[in-house]
Each structure stands twice: as structure tokens, then as C-alpha cells.
């Protein structure tokens, strides 16, 4: 069964702290996406990770991919309130067709001043 699991599902943290969100998946894939969703809004693409060892950074967010461990992480450095949102990872399991993504349940992140 194709599964993507995120943890934690809910995270409340103070501004200025660091934390990591984890995304595990069940079957080999080397194509993983991170998205952000604000309440009532669209899903916004954050990172595309395409190979083992891939690391991408944008501002206070850094994403990495370990295809052998079937694990991706999204690390938040010195969190600020504006990063409060729900974060989703999505995995492309079908390399040939490259269209069906399997999504995690999302991590709701609340950053308190």
C-alpha cells in the first residue's frame, strides 16, 4: 500500500525556536514535494526534492530527502509567526506516469509570539 505519514500532525512552538517535521513514505520514490496551506487558501509549492541527499533552503525553511530511509524532513530555524500554516508532503510513486501524488495528512504549525 502506498502511504505517506507525517509527524507530528500538530505542532505549537514559540518564536525563535527550531523544529523539524518528518515525512515517511512506504515505497521507493525519489520525487517528493513540500507544500504550505494557509486556512481557506490554496496549496503553495515550497520545495521539489528529486534525488537522494537533495537539500533545499528558502529563508527559515530547509528540506532534505533520504531516499534510502524513505524520509524527508522540513526544518524550521528561528521560527516566526508568519510561518504558521499547515505543511504537507506529497510523494510521486509512479515514475512512468508522473502524475499521481500521495499526500500526507499535514502538519498544522502554530507559532506563538
Amino acid at each position: 500500500e502506498l502511504k505517506v505519514e507525517q509527524n507530528p500532525l500538530f505542532l505549537s512552538m514559540q518564536e525563535g525556536k527550531n523544529y523539524t517535521i518528518y515525512c515517511n513514505y512506504s515505497t521507493t520514490s525519489d520525487r517528493l514535494y513540500w507544500y504550505r496551506q494557509d486556512p481557506g487558501k490554496s496549496l503553495e509549492s515550497l520545495f521539489v526534492l528529486l534525488s537522494n541527499g537533495a537539500v533545499k533552503q528558502e529563508g527559515r525553511l530547509m528540506a532534505s530527502l533520504d531516499t534510502k530511509a524513505r524520509l524527508s524532513t522540513l526544518h524550521i530555524t528561528a521560527a516566526v509567526h508568519d510561518l504558521s500554516a499547515t505543511y504537507f508532503c506529497a510523494v510521486d510513486f509512479d515514475m512512468d506516469s508522473n502524475y499521481q501524488l500521495i499526500w500526507g495528512a499535514g502538519t498544522k504549525l502554530i507559532i506563538k509570539p
Binding site: 490554496s42 496549496l43 509549492s45 502524475y99 499521481q100 501524488l101 500521495i102 499535514g106
Partner: protein, 115 residues
């Protein structure tokens, strides 16, 4: 427009009514996807189009759900004889190429409530 546009943003219907949800993808995008998102969950795949061809409809939950993209641009998701369990946010996404590493670009969704 610059992004994926969906309409209506909100739709309330009585159980048993038919509804039609519209998606206008980014101009020139070959691939179009429909997803269903329940409250507090990730999106679940419904169907995929490459231009006007519906290549995968394996995620459609029943034969009451029907999607089309007759001219390879605008797409419509139709739900017949709506049920309460159809209440969800319906998301449309488009992508520039059939294959490749680009992310999918999402619209704001249509929030469907069935009374």
C-alpha cells in the same frame, strides 16, 4: 490569469441536487488534476487529464462523479445526486508538462456543503 482559477468558491446544495465545479488552469498547462480535501486531511486524488484526455479516473469515489475537459483547457467536475459525504473542498491543480519535475499549481478550491 496568472494562476489556477476555480469557481464557485463556495457552493451549498441540498442532498440529491447536481452540482458543477469549474477549473480554469494556467494557460498552456497540459496536465490538470482534481482532488478532494476533507477537513484536516491531505488532498486525495480524484482524476487526471492530459490535454483533453482523461488518463486516470481511479480516484473518483462513485459513478455520481464525472469530470471533463473537452477542449484541453477549462475542466468541469460534476457531481450528480449529491450526498452529505460529498461535502469537502475540491481542489484543481495544473502542471505545465506531462512529465518533468515541476510542482502542481493549485487553485483556491471550491468548498462544497451538502445539506
Amino acid at each position: 490569469g496568472a494562476g489556477v482559477s476555480q469557481s464557485p468558491r463556495y457552493k451549498v446544495a441540498k442532498r440529491g441536487q447536481d452540482v458543477a465545479l469549474r477549473c480554469d488552469p494556467i494557460s498552456g498547462h497540459v496536465s490538470l488534476f482534481w482532488y478532494q480535501q476533507a477537513l484536516g486531511q491531505g488532498p486525495e486524488f480524484l482524476t487526471y487529464f492530459q490535454n483533453e484526455a482523461q488518463l486516470d479516473k481511479s480516484g473518483l469515489p462513485s459513478d455520481r462523479f464525472f469530470a471533463e475537459r473537452p477542449e484541453g483547457s477549462v475542466s468541469t467536475l460534476k457531481i450528480q445526486r449529491t450526498q452529505q459525504e460529498d461535502s469537502a473542498v475540491y481542489l484543481c491543480a495544473s502542471k505545465s508538462m506531462e512529465k518533468g519535475n515541476q510542482p502542481q499549481h493549485f487553485g483556491d478550491g471550491t468548498r462544497l456543503s451538502i445539506l
